[in-house]
């Protein structure tokens, strides 16, 4: 894939020069993306646009560049343009025309060098730290008055994720939502990828919703935790509440998980569970005092898995561990997500999308949900690297843990 950026200005809208150039690019077999467009307010004002051209070969790109030049589109010399920045006018406010980030690896040009932007994250700005010559993403609420924020697109380069040839096993999966594909092979691939991540001492993040407990899939996640396949767990109040409810009462939402029958006064179980943990001061304290002796969070505490519980407006209690300030929760999740190289999201819309927003595109991301729109939503919001699996979480986790167990046994035998 060959890429170039061209710029065109003049009365390009009314003269149909812009659509002509775009048609030309497509007709010659390439693709375009309008990076920015400025439209003049008055008739005599000129308009301008920057267009990114992606052609399958360098040869075709050259041909297209020559052709579009005849219509006034000139290549932008990105190589020697220095990034522009302006100070943030106040805390939590970016300067006008701030560069809005993608989740792709990004470079900025400064002092005739390309500097890699640290912690790629979508929908942020880029903050320059001149003293150390570093650049990092910064979310809006973290901007401080006077921070040097990159403005415009000049001197900013985004590195696209290329599909590697020959493909790596994980790349067998396309990022489409698979509802009707045989899932066994996909789950096998996910297991392989998780095993590789663990082998490389990479960190695996699991994001899960309470459906995991309701469907009786907890034991499979516990097995993953026990076998070091989970280093970080993101969830809301719900997952923890129902996990602890099931640890204390054997029910989830008042239903006995092993018998699938409703317990008398079962609807109160989760409230009593919350109260117990609040009284103990938190999940960790409850585990250490022997009040909670099994379950997902019991294993997390025992195995030293970092967990972050982010609150929402419908939470009961909540548990003392739940961070109810959403910006603070976002910041903690951002911090914990930094070194993650694999993310597995299951049975949660809110937390999956929230986490997807924080992850760089380089993190392998799998999203499992019975509802296909969750996966679609995740991709639509920019987490395009996510692999979607539409299935009930229990059979998925059962099969995944089976593969991981088998592999462990096979490896053990060797």
């Amino acid at each position: 894939m060959a890429r170039s950026i061209v710029e065109i200005s003049g009365h390009i809208i009314d003269s149909l020069i812009l659509p002509k150039i775009l048609d030309l690019i497509i007709n010659l077999g390439a693709e375009f993306r309008i990076l920015d467009i400025h439209i003049g307010h008055r008739r005599a004002d000129r308009s301008s646009a920057r267009i990114q051209i992606d052609a399958p070969t360098q040869e075709l790109l050259e041909k297209i560049l020559l052709k579009v030049k005849e219509h006034g589109a000139l290549p932008v010399e990105t190589e020697d343009v220095t990034a522009q920045f302006e100070p943030a006018p106040a805390d939590g406010i970016f300067p006008d025309h701030f560069y809005a980030t993608t989740n792709l690896p990004t470079l900025i040009r400064l002092h005739e060098q390309w500097i890699e932007v640290e912690h790629p994250e979508m929908d942020c700005a880029i903050r320059m730290i001149l003293a150390s010559g570093r650049a990092e993403t910064v979310p809006m609420h973290r901007a401080r008055k006077g921070d040097l924020i990159v403005v415009g697109h000049a001197g900013v380069k985004v590195v696209p994720m290329e599909r590697r040839v020959p493909r790596e096993p994980f790349e067998f999966m396309s990022s489409s939502v698979s509802t009707e594909q045989p899932k066994g092979l996909l789950i096998r691939e996910i297991a392989d990828s998780m095993r590789r991540t663990r082998g490389e001492r990479g960190r695996i993040l699991v994001v899960a919703g309470p459906g995991l407990v309701h469907t009786g899939a907890s034991r499979h996640l516990i097995e993953l935790i026990e076998n070091d396949f989970v280093q970080v767990l993101f969830a809301g109040n719900g997952l923890a509440v129902h996990d602890i409810e099931s640890a204390l009462y054997g029910t989830s939402l008042g239903v006995y998980l092993d018998k699938n029958i409703r317990a008398s006064e079962g609807h109160e179980h989760h409230l009593r569970a919350i109260n117990t943990i609040r009284k103990a001061g938190g999940i960790r304290q409850a585990v250490e005092r022997g009040l909670v002796q099994r379950g997902i969070f019991y294993s997390c505490v025992k195995k030293g898995v970092d967990f972050v519980l982010a609150g929402s407006i419908r939470d009961d209690g909540p548990l003392p561990d739940v961070i109810t300030d959403t910006l603070k929760a976002q910041d903690v999740m951002r911090e914990k997500a930094r070194d993650v190289s694999f993310a597995l999201m299951m049975a949660t819309t809110l937390h999956a999308i929230a986490t997807g927003n924080l992850l760089p595109a380089t993190v392998k991301t799998v999203c499992v949900d019975i509802n296909p729109t969750v996966v679609t939503k995740l991709s639509d919001r920019g987490t395009f690297q996510a692999i979607g699996l539409v299935t009930d979480v229990e059979p998925f986790l059962r099969e995944l843990s089976q593969y991981l167990r088998q592999d462990d046994n096979t490896l053990g035998a060797v």
């Binding site: 009365h11 009314d14 003269s15 149909l16």
Partner: protein
């Protein structure tokens, strides 16, 4: 209306830079002079134009087509960057003339070709500009900045109609003559969306340079032999003055090519 013309003293076919030109089909200098003088007379007497003259120079046969020398905007003269070497020598003589008249000379970057009024025609509240054969679209952007007006670029696609003024003639009041096949489809769409009444000219009359006409109010001067266009124009209330300009068609020019609008 004040127009700049150049007598055809040295006019002949010395080179071939468009499909009309053939060194084997030479001009008749006397004949050419008579046709040029007739045109000048119509402009002065019928259109009440004031004609200024630039001195013709030997070895620059196309100076007679003064429209291509540049564009006047107020007291600025934007000088042309001719695409063909053989015509580049004309520019300094026109520049000198405008300098003597007290105009500010504006030059475009050397790398952008621009052939003056040949490719830039005003439609009142903006301009249309032809590109791809003689002028570059990038020159249009600079010209738009200088004249502080909208310039809509139209791609010309037929080498026989190499300048905008050979295939398009604004008539004022939202009307214009044009020869559709000389434009690409985007340009045709642009013309259609900006001009209320577009009057197409048939191929035979386009080749007689029906579009290369000089318009002043309700009067219009054009080459003879364009009966259809004449009738249409008369139907619109124009007084049409036809005058034979065959000698100049040998070089690919006609009435409009021979005048540069000063004001």
């Amino acid at each position: 209306m004040r127009l700049l013309m150049c007598p055809p003293d040295h006019y002949s076919i010395e080179y071939e830079i468009n499909p009309w030109m053939s060194k084997d089909r030479q001009t008749d200098r006397q004949h050419a002079h008579r046709q040029w003088s007739d045109l000048r007379q119509i402009l002065e007497t019928c259109l009440s134009s004031k004609i200024d003259l630039v001195e013709p120079i030997a070895g620059l046969p196309d100076m007679v087509f003064s429209a291509n020398a540049g564009v006047v905007s107020g007291k600025k003269f934007i000088t042309s960057n001719f695409r063909h070497d053989v015509r580049r020598g004309e520019a300094p003589y026109f520049v000198e003339w405008f300098l003597r008249q007290g105009f500010e000379i504006v030059r475009l970057p050397d790398e952008y070709f621009f052939e003056g009024e040949g490719d830039l025609l005003s439609r009142g509240d903006g301009c249309f500009a032809g590109y791809h054969i003689r002028s570059d679209i990038l020159a249009h952007q600079r010209v738009a900045e200088i004249i502080e007006s909208e310039v809509l670029s139209l791609e010309l696609t037929d080498d026989w109609f190499y300048h905008l003024d050979t295939c398009f003639c604004p008539l004022g009041a939202g009307r214009a003559l044009y020869y559709p096949p000389a434009f690409d489809r985007y340009a045709r769409d642009v013309l259609q969306s900006h001009i209320a009444e577009l009057i197409p000219v048939a191929a035979a009359e386009a080749q007689r340079f029906a579009c290369n006409a000089i318009v002043a109010g309700n009067a219009i001067v054009m080459n003879d032999g364009c009966p259809e266009a004449r009738e249409k124009l008369q139907g619109l209330g124009f007084t049409v003055y036809e005058t034979p300009l065959d000698e100049f068609i040998k070089a690919g020019g006609s009435a409009k090519c021979m005048v540069l609008t000063i004001d």
